[in-house]
Amino acid sequence: MTMIRNVRERIARNKVLKFMAPPPMLELDVSHGEILYLEDLNVSFDGFKAINDLTMYIEAGELRCIIGPNGAGKTTMMDIITGKTRPDSGRAYFGSLINLLELSEPQIATAGIGRKFQKPTVFEQLHVIDNLELALQCDKRVWPTLFAKLSSTQQDFIDETLQLIGLKQQRNKQAGSLSHGQKQWLEIGMLLVQEPHLLLVDEPVAGMTHQEMDRTAELLTSLAGMHSVVVVEHDMDFVRSIARKVTVLHQGSVLAEGSMDEVQNDQRVIEVYLGES
């Protein structure tokens, strides 16, 4: 009998054809307090070390700001977390169970990591509301997508989000016709309807007015707690207005970590930002 079971196990279609196997969807486990573990990561492009022994932990519900000069490895770090770039060595875990290095980009997104890009990329040919509908948390396989219909709860959720990002009037406009700031908001909206556990936000306030910046700051701080948020930003005023804990990256590794005041008075950080003097 065991033999039969063995054979059956071996010829189960997801064992024979590896690609038929369902994606390994493990539950997100944050019982140890951390939602993101990055340990000893290394990436190099053509001999240039973009990430150099980077180790960093993000706690569940935390709002973390990451700053650093150009080329410090901020975007590359995000690329690793979202599966776009594979590190040469190191470990990256989402919760204590999900190994990010084994997953593809869509799997990572489905596991609950959302990303807003530095350059706003929305689907310009589609309407604003379609952009949100596509990003909406739901079954994203082919057949369910073909037959998908918005339930009234989902409809309401999208309406609420439209209200929140201030694009209610533009809901049936093509996303390509929006202003730069509106595209930023739309992308934030897409991030929200994805309902991720961890939000990676790359330069959210570039091209925004001061009022919009304040609203963004308000939004991000309100998200923290329920979600974990990692913000990469150059605008120091903005960082100061939201930051509880700041990490400074330099040459691919962590230079300093702490509250905004601590970081700002750190001698090494000053050197990096003001030049080696």
């Binding site: 979202t82 776009k84 593809s104 980009e105 869509p106 997104a109 489905t110 959302g114 990303r115 890009f117 990329t121 929305v122 689907f123 310009e124 040919q125 589609l126 379609d130 509908e133 596509l134 990003a135 994203k140 396989r141 082919v142 997508t145 073909l146 037959f147 998908a148 897409m190 994805q194």
Partner: protein
């Protein structure tokens, strides 16, 4: 009803279906009832020609589905068309039975000529219509699936993918030229007698094939329209415009591409299957890269990203081709080449794009 829901916001599609219903009634009537002396009489040749155009239009719709809505510029759809055609050709060949030149009850003429003794295994079953029709859809579909599986998963995109598709049809062209392949080599399959027991030369058979082509085009159009107006259609457009971004919101881009590409290949196969009994021959020339790229120009002229535009393009270009090759055979390739350049430079949205611009203005 489903059809109405699919066409709700689609003026072009409504017009197209109306047009198809009218011609399926009108053209047979003009042929049967109007006397031959009248200028309104449609000849048998005319019906067959129009039927051929309709199969081309279906092929164009299939190409537009992947190019206009998914961003895959396939330079190899002629291969799927030809494979569907070969599957149909094999059925028609088996129907000839012992009426061939050599009178062999089982083997087609070219096999007797090559001194083959047995029917190759891959010709078995093609004497049954249902089996052949299954293969018409299955062979292009499976090939597209395998090809797509290999290329999409390794994220071959854009121009690389286009050249891969061209290489695919080129490889098939070389393969089908070989006699050993068992598909009639250079000459292909021809000298068909009848389909489902009806003589292919009969007027009524030709009218029936014409109507079948119109119905297939309508069906193909509706399938594509259904896909592109669903959420899946919006995902494909998202993939077309920002593939990486679509991945980051959780869609497995490869699978979407794979399924849409396969559906498109199946439609192309169906078009090929309807094409063959109307023109009476299928040979390896159908695999030539030039054929595949001509389809692209139909779509480009009609206007990609509008399915009805693809139909307009296919009908117009082929009508022009028939006219021009009749008057000045040498000029056709110049005209075709010129069209490629002018359309891409000056009319990137094609004829349908002109309509749309007027509407917006």
């Amino acid at each position: 009803m489903g059809v109405f829901r699919i066409l709700k916001d689609d003026r072009g599609g409504q017009m197209l279906l109306l047009f198809l219903s009218i011609i399926t009634v009108l053209i047979p009537l003009l042929h049967l009832l109007v006397p031959e002396s009248s200028p309104f009489h449609v000849t048998t040749y005319g019906i067959t020609l129009f039927g051929k155009y309709l199969t081309y239009a279906l092929l164009a719709v299939a190409v537009d589905l992947v190019w206009g809505y998914l961003g895959i510029l396939s330079l190899g759809h002629g291969a799927f068309f030809a494979l569907g055609g070969y599957a149909m050709g094999m059925y028609l060949m088996r129907q000839v039975g012992d009426r061939g030149v050599y009178g062999d009850p089982l083997l087609p003429d070219f096999m007797v000529f090559l001194d083959w003794k047995e029917l190759p295994w891959f010709w078995l079953g093609f004497d049954m219509f249902w089996f052949a029709m299954l293969m018409v859809a299955l062979i292009p579909g499976v090939l597209a699936f395998i090809f797509g599986w290999l290329t999409f998963r390794s994220r071959v995109t854009g121009v690389y993918l286009s050249i891969m598709t061209q290489a695919l049809t080129y490889a098939l062209l070389l393969a089908f030229f070989r006699n050993e392949m068992g598909f009639g080599g250079n000459n292909g399959l021809t000298d068909f007698k009848d389909i489902l027991g009806f003589n292919l030369q009969d007027d009524t058979t030709r009218i029936a094939l014409f109507i079948a082509s119109a119905v297939a085009l309508a069906f193909g159009y509706l399938v594509c329209r259904w896909i592109v107006s669903s959420k899946l259609g919006r995902v494909t457009v998202a993939i077309r415009d920002a593939e990486d971004r679509t991945r980051f919101i959780g869609y497995r881009v490869e699978y979407f591409k794979l399924w849409v590409f396969t559906v498109s290949a199946v439609l192309a196969g169906i078009a090929g299957a309807l094409y063959v009994p109307q023109v009476g021959i299928i040979n390896p020339g159908e695999f030539s890269p030039l054929n595949s790229i001509e389809i692209v120009i139909w779509v480009a002229i009609g206007g990609r990203y509008t399915l009805y535009g693809a139909v307009i393009g296919a009908l117009l270009v082929n009508y022009a081709k028939t006219l021009l090759t009749g008057i000045m055979p040498d000029a056709w390739l110049f005209a075709l080449g010129g069209m490629f350049i002018l359309i891409t430079l000056f009319l990137p949205h094609g004829i349908a794009g002109l309509f749309r611009r007027e509407k917006q203005a």
